[in-house]
């Protein structure tokens, strides 16, 4: 805000300086014109006076006045002087101004309100200075008036500039304060609140809109996090409850050795289940939050990773079939190299492939690989149950499971985990699906370039 004020004051100063210099320029040029014009008129009268005084007769005095308007307080004078410059004869000239006169040519000067025009005239053995003096009515009256007028308009102008600038500043800042007040009201407990966009216009409308969109994202991620915690605790609670239940039950009375063994086996199974879940959770958290720390990426062949991932999937469940289409493999094997961590990529791909197999009645996943200019495309397709269209936007939320997956076991971690891994590799994962027909997952990864 302080910077804003500085800019405003600088702008006001510039405007004021401009106005002042404009006024000064007008005054200067009008004065200049008034002076030079008046001196010209004096010069004419001086020449006429000299003609009359030196060559004419004294009685001829009045003829020039018939044609030329007499100036205010017009006086004519003639001064005779010797070679040293001392006055010999003086008629009507104030001797105190003698120094100001050029004794060898013409002079124009001003003393108080009186203007003088003099010139040297020579006759054999004699030097005369003939001159005319008069008061400049235009200078004494009109210019003074103009000066006052300009001064008043200057003051009014400056006042106007300052008032208008302050008003504009206020009208700019007021809505921003409005936005600030509205934003202050929004906290974690009322994230549903939004700014009133229709209240603002122009760029502030855009600002409010941007802010609201940011709030939408914040609210969504807030919700996701809340859901994540509740889902996670629920998921972790289930095996814990069963462990406690089995242990309680077996402790409630004396049991045979076999029964204890059975109970312990169940407890171990549940604990293993719990471990799997926490490991998956840990992996998800690590892949989700370690985006900034650059992992030790190396160039790896993506076709090799796909084949390894398929081996892994088949090892988990031998009913799973994977059909691979490598018909679009590029001639140049360099195009198949991506920069990444092989175990992570393998984990991501095997997760998606095993999902594709799991949710298809024929337990078959179709995998294809191709390379375009700057990256590779992996398509993993199934002919399974698909994902309901309205649920497609939630599939990347951890622990989210689509409404049609009740009959399949799973935690809802595989896809978010895969997506995190692909994102770590600067890649892109997208899912398209038709309910009841099948799903296609498309992974795009940038190719390894030795320069970067």
């Amino acid at each position: 805000m302080r910077n804003y004020n500085k800019t405003l004051y600088a702008l006001i100063t510039i405007l004021v300086v401009y106005t002042v210099s404009f006024v000064a320029f007008i005054l200067y040029s009008v004065t200049n014109f008034a002076f030079s014009d008046f001196y010209k008129r004096l010069d004419l009268r001086r020449d006429l006076a000299a003609e009359r005084m030196l060559n004419g007769k004294e009685t001829q005095k009045d003829w020039s006045i018939t044609y030329l308007e007499e100036l205010n307080n017009q006086r004519e004078f003639i001064v005779e002087f010797d070679e040293k410059g001392d006055i010999v004869n003086n008629s009507g000239f104030n001797a105190l101004l003698w120094e100001k006169i050029d004794k060898r040519g013409a002079t124009n000067f001003k003393e108080g309100n009186t203007f003088y025009s003099t010139k040297l005239y020579q006759q054999p053995g004699k030097n005369y200075i003939v001159g005319v003096s008069a008061e400049n009515y235009f200078y004494t009256h009109h210019l003074r008036y103009l000066q006052n007028l300009l001064l008043i308009s200057l003051i009014l102008g400056v006042l106007f500039v300052i008032v208008v600038s302050l008003l504009v500043k206020r009208s700019f800042i007021q809505p921003i304060y409005g936005i600030i007040d509205e934003v202050k009201k929004i906290g974690s407990e009322n994230l549903y609140l939004r700014l009133r966009e229709d209240k603002y216009k122009g760029v502030l409308h855009k600002l409010a809109n941007t802010f609201n969109r940011m709030l939408n994202r914040v609210e969504t991620s807030f919700e996701t996090q809340k859901n994540f915690i509740s889902n996670a605790s629920h998921e972790l609670n289930t095996p814990l409850t069963s462990i406690i239940g089995i242990a309680d039950l077996s402790l409630s009375k004396d049991r045979s050795k076999e029964e204890y063994q059975q109970a312990m086996q169940k407890i171990v199974d549940s604990a293993e289940n719990l471990e799997k879940k926490t490991n998956a959770l840990l992996m998800l958290a690590r892949t989700g939050y370690e985006k900034d720390t650059k992992l030790n990426f190396k160039p790896v062949r993506i076709d090799q990773i796909i084949m390894d991932a398929e081996m892994t999937v088949k090892a988990i469940n031998e009913r799973f079939h994977i059909k691979t289409d490598f018909s679009m493999l590029p001639d140049d094997s360099m195009k198949l190299k991506v920069n990444g961590l092989a175990p992570l990529l393998q984990l991501a791909i095997s997760n998606i492939v095993s999902n594709a197999c799991k949710y298809s009645p024929n337990h078959t996943a179709y995998v294809a690989l191709g390379a375009f200019d700057k990256g590779v495309i992996i398509l993993i397709k199934d002919e399974g149950i698909g994902i309901p269209e309205q649920e497609l936007s939630y599939i990347y939320d951890p622990y989210f499971r689509a409404s049609n997956t009740q009959h399949f076991s799973g935690y809802g971690i595989g896809l978010p985990l895969a997506r995190n891994i692909i994102k770590m590799h600067d890649g892109n994962l997208s899912v398209t699906s038709t309910l009841g027909k099948g799903t296609t997952v498309r992974i795009e990864l940038p190719t390894y370039s030795p320069i970067s």
């Binding site: 079939h321 059909k323 691979t324 289409d325 191709g370 375009f372 398209t432 498309r442």
Partner: protein, 169 residues
């Protein structure tokens, strides 16, 4: 000698299957592929003055289509010398004759039973070329066959075609 081949297209990834069928079933000659589609320019003065081929083609080709083209180029790196799009702007017989002659096509690929996407102002190049009374360059028919898999992703049709050539289980 590099063959210049006219391949009809509608700028969908699906139509790139024609290119694939052609490339896979023909001998190892080097080819320059010109993906051609039909666009009725109309008679208005604004179209005549405001139509720019490059801008129009850039508008027609979406990301997936371009990626598909790039995949084909990297797959058949030694075979495909060049691959670019072009359009025919009239069904007029003389225009077609001049177009084929001017571009110096040596082969024309005509697929059987392929449904092109019918968008406003477009026309079917395959049908147009089939019905031409003109002597055409060498016509290469390709059999598209039925594709039985359902499609979700736009690149699906491009990859999972008929029978997998490389598959292991």
């Amino acid at each position: 000698m590099i063959q210049r081949v006219l391949v009809p297209t509608d700028f969908t990834v699906n139509s790139l299957r024609i290119v694939l069928e052609y490339l896979e079933n023909n001998n190892d000659e080097q080819v320059e592929l010109v993906l051609v589609y039909g666009y009725k320019l109309g008679e208005s003065i604004s179209m005549l003055l405001g139509f720019t081929l490059d801008d129009h083609l850039a508008e027609m080709q979406n990301d997936d289509f371009l990626k598909g083209c790039e995949i084909i180029k990297s797959r058949f790196k030694d075979k495909v010398v060049e691959m670019y799009a072009d359009c025919m702007i009239s069904k007029n017989t003389r225009y077609v004759r001049n177009y084929l002659k001017g571009r110096q096509f040596t082969q024309i690929v005509l697929p059987d039973a392929f449904e092109f996407q019918n968008v406003e102002h477009t026309f079917d190049v395959v049908e147009l070329l089939r019905t031409q009374p003109l002597p055409l360059p060498q016509v290469i028919p390709v059999a598209m066959g039925e594709d039985e898999m359902s499609r979700h992703d736009t690149l699906d049709s491009f990859f999972f075609r008929k029978k997998w050539r490389f598959s292991y289980e």
